[in-house]
């Protein structure tokens, strides 16, 4: 149920309590003053293109936090953090040009400083590093400082329009015993209105996508069937598909499409379960052997922690 005013106030009160127990008592005072602003009226410019002075303020009067004096550069750094978070999710590279165009604008003379402040905030709040990967073309990338574990299974789906199609293709391969001929594949795709020789309004050139692009990205293997006469080709899962998804996930996708559950497909479900078991075993082994956990100053908050597993 959408949070009404009462529950918001209660949450605010709880936050106030937590804060007043913290060491910086004066912060609590300052933020209490800020919080009392009623729901807000940020000025709304007419459109995305015509925003000049964007300040991250939620009330007309600039809140005087009192905890430390925030400069316009600080404000811009905060906006840059928000911008970077969006880019992190889209897994897109970031250019200096982009940052200046969308966020920094008239403060571009202070680009370095704003970038530095934003980077600090990103690391402290999210554990995400902003690294310059191409100094000549001023391109940056966002990389998590936290050690990679098997988070990937809990990540949101890549927000790409082609994801649905990729899952479908992986599904077909799985259902055909982990290997599907070209004929099989197009039979299914044609039913969905996707044809090898026709441009598709979302997927563009589907043939290129499944026989070239995704092969290059290692999601699929596309190879000649041995001893086939006339020669024909088949599709298999590529190594990246195995890394980024699983038989169970693909089955869940199929189940969702048919408004049912994975167990409604007993033999595939069996296979998917087995696959899950093997993965769990592999993960366990990896954790035991590598002693998986990252440590660092921030871990000090847990005190000494006993080793996982």
């Amino acid at each position: 149920m959408p949070r009404g005013q009462k529950s918001k106030l209660r949450a605010r009160e709880k936050r106030h309590q937590a804060r007043s127990e913290a060491q910086r008592a004066q912060d609590a005072q300052a933020t209490a003053a800020e919080e009392e602003q009623p729901s807000t009226s940020s000025s709304s410019p007419s459109g995305g293109s015509s925003q000049d002075e964007e300040k991250p303020s939620t009330s007309q009067a600039q809140p005087n936090t009192g905890r430390y004096h925030r400069t316009p550069l600080d404000d811009t750094a905060i906006l840059l953090v928000q911008f970077l978070l969006r880019k992190y999710n889209m897994r897109e590279p970031i250019t200096k040009e982009d940052m200046i165009k969308h966020v920094i604008k008239k403060h571009k003379v202070h680009f370095r400083e704003i970038l530095r402040k934003a980077s600090e905030l990103m690391v402290l709040a999210f554990g995400i590093d902003l690294k310059e990967v191409d100094p000549t073309r001023h391109r940056y990338a966002l990389i998590s400082k936290l050690q990679r574990t098997n988070d990937d299974r809990l990540r949101g789906e890549e927000i790409m329009p082609q994801t649905g199609l990729l899952m479908t293709v992986l599904c077909v391969i799985f259902m055909k015993g982990n290997c599907a001929t070209e004929k099989d594949m197009w039979e299914v795709l044609n039913v969905m209105g996707i044809y090898a020789d026709k441009k598709h309004f979302i997927y563009g050139d589907p043939k290129k996508l499944i026989t070239e692009d995704w092969v290059q990205e290692r999601y699929l293997l596309y190879r000649q069937v041995s001893n086939s006469n006339p020669p024909c080709r088949e599709f298999l899962w590529g190594p990246r598909a195995y890394a980024e998804t699983s038989k169970m996930k693909v089955l869940e996708f199929l189940a969702k499409v048919h408004d049912t559950v994975p167990s409604a497909f007993p033999s595939w479900y069996e296979e998917a379960l087995q696959d899950e078991e093997e993965r769990a075993r592999a993960r366990f082994t990896a954790l035991v052997h590598t002693g998986a956990l990252a440590t660092g100053p921030s871990m000090a908050n847990f005190g000494s922690f006993s080793h996982l597993y």
Partner: protein, 265 residues
């Protein structure tokens, strides 16, 4: 110096949680709990997992200075609790600005206006596409506009049902404030929770509106549902209250077929 002023609260558990939550845009409560447990496990925390609400409030107290917060809401059609990491500042359409072109943003704005003005909370594809000539920026053809609408669906700003579009819970979470401020006369609110209302049921006599999950809760054990405002008989089917446990054991999605939206007559 910016960043985490409460050195005791923001740890790698919270950071990992945020990183993962972000990738979803918006996530159901069940998924959020799994995420939380996972993050504790990864960082070797064998102690009891903190209550989700406190966990999130802790994070929010740190993110406050960045005008970002984890906001909780609910899906309008069946009341599932959902969470999203939202920017509290900047006008929401401009939040999408770095992801979409000017004419695409304007298309979204047009769709948003149609949705808010509609009786059902849905705007038909046809009506949206008919506005294509009025868009700012580069000229967009209807075919292209169809693709852009799909992009909005993929990015969880809109939901599509049978050729009609409404706002995704993510959009409602991120844009509620903006919508209330920008369309103060057209905006509808729920008589029970007073939150922004896009889809819901309304009383045919006095016109007050309620979210479907709010209807479900309010009339839960009422033998004869009556309008809370004018006491007239409530003419619509009362949906069931969302029960996460029931769903898990039933094992099927949509075990209770509820009306996905209520229409006006």
């Amino acid at each position: 110096q910016g960043g985490a002023r409460r050195a005791g609260i923001m740890t790698d558990v919270h950071r990992r949680f945020l990183q993962l939550l972000m990738t979803h845009g918006v996530l159901e409560e069940r998924g959020v709990r799994r995420l939380q447990k996972h993050c504790y496990r990864v960082h070797g925390r064998t102690a009891a997992v903190e209550e989700l609400e406190d966990f999130i409030n802790n994070i929010n107290s740190v993110l406050e200075s960045l005008y970002i917060e984890i906001k909780k809401g609910a899906t309008e059609d069946d009341g599932r609790p959902v969470y999203a990491l939202v920017n509290l500042a900047t006008t929401p359409v401009s939040k999408m600005a770095s992801d979409f072109a000017e004419n695409e943003l304007d298309l979204f704005r047009k769709a948003l206006e149609l949705i808010i003005d509609s009786e059902t909370g849905f705007a038909s594809s046809t009506n949206i596409l008919n506005l294509v000539d009025q868009l700012k920026g580069k000229k967009m053809r209807k075919k292209e506009a169809e693709q852009v609408l799909q992009k909005f669906v993929q990015n969880k700003w809109l939901i599509e049902k049978e050729g009609e579009f409404t706002l995704h819970s993510r959009a409602i979470l991120e844009m509620e404030q903006y919508i209330r401020e920008t369309y103060p006369d057209a905006v509808k609110t729920c008589n029970i929770c007073h939150g922004l209302l896009i889809q819901g049921q309304s009383c045919e006599t006095c016109g007050i509106r309620m979210h479907l999950p709010c209807v479900a809760k309010y009339f839960r054990s009422a033998p004869e549902p009556r309008c809370p405002h004018c006491n007239d008989y409530w003419p619509h089917e009362i949906p069931e209250v969302f029960n996460p446990d029931k769903e898990r054991e039933a094992g099927t999605s949509k075990a209770n077929k509820k009306p996905s939206r209520s229409r006006q007559h």
